[in-house]
Amino acid sequence: MKATLERLADRASDEGLLDVAYAMSDSPFGPLLLAATPRGLVKLSLPGHDPEQTLEDLAARISPRLLEAPSRLDQARRELDLYFEGKLTQFDLPLDWQLSRDFRRRALRAIDRIPYGKTRSYTEIARSAGNERAVRAAGTACGANPIPIVVPCHRVLRTSGALGGYGGGLPMKEALLKLEGIR
């Protein structure tokens, strides 16, 4: 049955019927759920978030034509593995930004440009997104980041240097910063 289902996912993809492919991927922090559209990685769900809920959200927001298709996420899984081993400092994955709009998307794109091993403040991100006073909204954009780790919102801190928040919990944020040699 496994081969049958893999063949189905491949054929669905070939015929343009696979709108969202997903796979689970192990990480030092627990299982991650990865989802991609034909455009690119659209969602990375951190441990502690219910995968079924995530899949239902994706079905509602993008398309219910959603299948488990690990082969569509091989590159993302490979790059994440290398990142967690400290052997990759820049992801080279096509991203699909459709789950974020307007200010949030601009903020996340600004975050996407923060280099490995560097940090920015929420204020700097607000400024890059076009509204320096929208510091709280920049924080919200981080919290609503659909593709954490790859879009490195863990590199955004308070101006004071305090950690701020993180969807995967502050210990994970701290561990990622440590991995990148920041703290």
Binding site: T4, L5, L8, R11, L18, E56, A59, P64, R65, L67
Partner: protein
């Protein structure tokens, strides 16, 4: 609509079982692919998610019928029937082989009714005919089975 993957998780095994019964083990995989590709194609426009199982079995039987038509209505020998949710009281050995030898509409009607436990209205939807015609196909099929097995 729920993620399509949940339809596979919940119903793939049953659909495969029904198809093996209807077209044989060798061709079941192709019919399975056709069934779920057709379902994927139609899924975003589907209005009612209350009976996804019946919907999938309906498509599966249409694909089985298409398959038999494409093969010039030759009756395929069915070696074994597995994983079919049989509600027929005592399906004696070989009964599905006899079912497999019925004309396509009768065979589909019998398989849908006693293999998949679908009501007449859904059998009609599956066969693309009126409930009355579905009832008639079922009746004819049963009559012929009785004769064959007598």
């Amino acid at each position: 609509m729920p993620p399509f993957q949940t339809l596979l998780d919940d119903h793939a095994a049953e659909v495969m079982g029904v198809l093996r019964g209807a077209v044989g083990r060798t061709d079941a995989d192709d019919c399975f692919q056709e069934t779920f590709l057709a379902a994927l194609r139609a899924y975003p426009k589907l209005k009612d998610a209350s009976n996804l199982r019946g919907w999938l079995l309906t498509i599966a039987h249409r694909k089985a019928i298409d398959h038999h038509r494409a093969n010039g209505r030759r009756a395929l020998p069915v070696a074994e029937v597995v994983e079919v949710a049989v509600s027929d009281p005592e399906p004696g050995d070989g009964i599905w082989e006899v079912v497999g030898a019925l004309p396509p509409k009768q065979r589909a009607a019998v398989a849908l009714r006693y293999g998949s436990d679908l009501p007449h209205a859904e059998i009609a939807a599956a066969l693309g005919c009126s409930p009355e015609a579905a009832r008639r196909s079922l009746h004819e099929g049963i009559k012929r089975l009785r004769k064959e097995l007598a």
